[in-house]
C-alpha cells in the first residue's frame, strides 16, 4: 500500500541527493513496519518469528514512542489492531515523515514543505516573510478547504472519516470512533501531531481539550453534525484573509 509524498523545497541549489535520502527514510520505515509486506519486522513479530527483544533499534524506538502515547491516552491510542495483532500504523506515517524532515534539516535545508499522505511538515517559509499555507481538507467536499493554516516550523496532521471509511478505532472498545468527522492537530513536530489527530478522533468530544492540556498543540475539529471545535492556540495559526 502506498501513500503519495511530496517535498517542496524553497532553498536555492540542487537538493536531489537530500530528497533521495528523505524518501529512503520513508521507504525504510515501510519495509520495517508495513503490515502488507510479509517480510517486514512487524509481520514477523506477528508470526512470532521475532520478539520485542530481537527487533531492530528503529522498531524499538517507534514501539517505545507508541507505548508512551498509549499509556498517556488511557489506551485510546492502541498498538494493536482490532484483530489483536501488532499495528503501529497510527504512529509510523507521521514518525517516518518527521524523520525524513529532520534529515533534510540536518543536510542544511531550512525552507521546505513535506507532505506525506496529508501529514505535513512546514519548515521555514515559502518565501521570505511568508508562512506555508496548509489547507485542511473539508470532510464533506474533499476539493474544498474547511480552513487554511499559515504555518512556519510547525507540523499538522488530519484524521477524518473520508479516508478509507471508518478506519479509526477506539482502543478501549475496539469499535470505530464516532463523534468527529475531521480532527486536525498542529504541533511542533509531526509524530505528535499525527498520533494526537488519531487519538483525539478516537477519544471523541473530550479529545481536543485533553490533547491541548497535555501537549504543546492546537486542535481544529469538526463534529459529525458540522460544529467546529477548537483547542489550544488554534486561531493564531488560521491564515489571514487574502
Amino acid at each position: 500500500m502506498g501513500i503519495p509524498m511530496s517535498i517542496d523545497i524553497r532553498d536555492g541549489g540542487d537538493h536531489r541527493a537530500a530528497v533521495s535520502e528523505a524518501f529512503a527514510i520513508v521507504h525504510e520505515a515501510d519495509a520495517i513496519f508495513s503490515p502488507y509486506l510479509p517480510e517486514s519486522e512487524l509481520s514477523r513479530l506477528n508470526r512470532s518469528e521475532l520478539t520485542l527483544e530481537t527487533v531492530s533499534g528503529l522498531f524499538t524506538e517507534a514501539h517505545e514512542l507508541a507505548s508512551r502515547f498509549a499509556a498517556a491516552s488511557g489506551g485510546v491510542f492502541s498498538l494493536r489492531n482490532a484483530a489483536g495483532e501488532w499495528d503501529l500504523n497510527g504512529l509510523v506515517k507521521g514518525w517516518a515523515a518527521q524523520r525524513a524532515a529532520d534529515r533534510l534539516k540536518a543536510l542544511g535545508l531550512a525552507n521546505f514543505c513535506l507532505n506525506a499522505g496529508g501529514d505535513v511538515v512546514a519548515a521555514g517559509s515559502i518565501e521570505p516573510g511568508k508562512a506555508w499555507n496548509v489547507g485542511i481538507r473539508s470532510p464533506q467536499a474533499p476539493q474544498q478547504m474547511m480552513a487554511v493554516l499559515a504555518l512556519s516550523d510547525l507540523a499538522v496532521a488530519t484524521s477524518a472519516t473520508y479516508e478509507r471509511g471508518e478506519h479509526i478505532i477506539d482502543g478501549r472498545t475496539g469499535r470505530p470512533a464516532r463523534g468527529f468527522s475531521s480532527v486536525s492537530v498542529i504541533a511542533p513536530e509531526l509524530t505528535t501531531a499525527d498520533v494526537l489527530a488519531t487519538t483525539v478522533f478516537a477519544m471523541g468530544v473530550d479529545g481536543p481539550h485533553w490533547a491541548a492540556e497535555r501537549y504543546p498543540c492546537s486542535v481544529l475539529a469538526q463534529t459529525e453534525n458540522g460544529t467546529l471545535v477548537e483547542a489550544g492556540d488554534l486561531r493564531r495559526w488560521l491564515a489571514p484573509a487574502e
Binding site: P4, F23, P139, Q144, A150, S184, L238, A241, E242
Partner: protein
C-alpha cells in the same frame, strides 16, 4: 385608517425580511466564490513526488527527476479519468521532452454547499475566522488521500502515455 396602517406595517415587515434574506444569500455567495476560484487555480507543484511503500519502484519520481535536453519537444497529454468515492479526478500533464512542466486539473468532484450547513451551527467568531482563512491561497493540503490517489493515478496514466 387603522386598517391602512396595518397594511403598510405588514408590507414593510415583508419587505425587510425579503431584503435580509436576499442580502444574506449575496453575502454567503460572495464568500464561496473566492474559495472555489482559488482552488481551481491552485498551482500544482511537481517538485518531487513518489509513492513510498509497495514493492515496485514508482515511475512518478523518476519521471519528475528526469531533466530535459535543450529544445525538447513540448507535449500535453490528458490522463485517464480516475473515479474516487467523491467523484472523478482527471488531469492533463504538459511535458517538455520527458520532464513534467505543468499539471492542469480537468475534473475534480463536485462541491457541496457544506459551509452553508456549518454557518447555521457554529459560534460566529470561530466560524468567521475559519471562513476568512479559506480565502488564503493553498500551498499544500492536510487530509485524506482518496482524491490525491486519484490525482496521482491520472498523472501516472499521462506519464504512461508519453511516447
Amino acid at each position: 385608517m387603522n386598517r391602512k396602517w396595518r397594511g403598510t406595517a405588514l408590507f414593510l415587515a415583508i419587505f425587510v425580511v425579503m431584503g435580509a434574506t436576499f442580502g444574506l444569500k449575496l453575502y454567503l455567495g460572495s464568500m464561496h466564490s473566492p474559495l472555489a476560484t482559488s482552488l481551481a487555480a491552485a498551482p500544482v507543484s511537481p517538485t518531487a513526488t513518489a509513492k513510498p511503500g509497495g514493492g515496485s519502484p514508482s515511475p512518478v519520481p523518476s519521471a519528475a527527476a528526469t531533466t530535459s535536453g535543450p529544445g525538447a519537444a513540448a507535449t500535453t497529454i490528458t490522463g485517464d479519468t480516475e473515479s474516487t468515492p467523491y467523484g472523478n479526478v482527471q488531469v492533463s500533464v504538459r511535458f517538455s521532452g520527458r520532464k513534467i512542466t505543468n499539471v492542469t486539473v480537468l475534473q475534480v468532484p463536485d462541491s457541496g454547499n457544506y459551509d452553508q450547513q456549518v454557518a447555521q451551527v457554529v459560534p460566529p467568531t470561530l466560524l468567521q475566522e475559519v471562513l476568512s482563512s479559506q480565502s488564503a491561497t493553498v500551498n499544500t493540503v492536510s487530509g485524506g488521500t482518496y482524491t490525491s490517489n486519484g490525482y496521482l493515478q491520472s498523472v501516472q496514466s499521462a506519464i504512461d502515455k508519453l511516447p
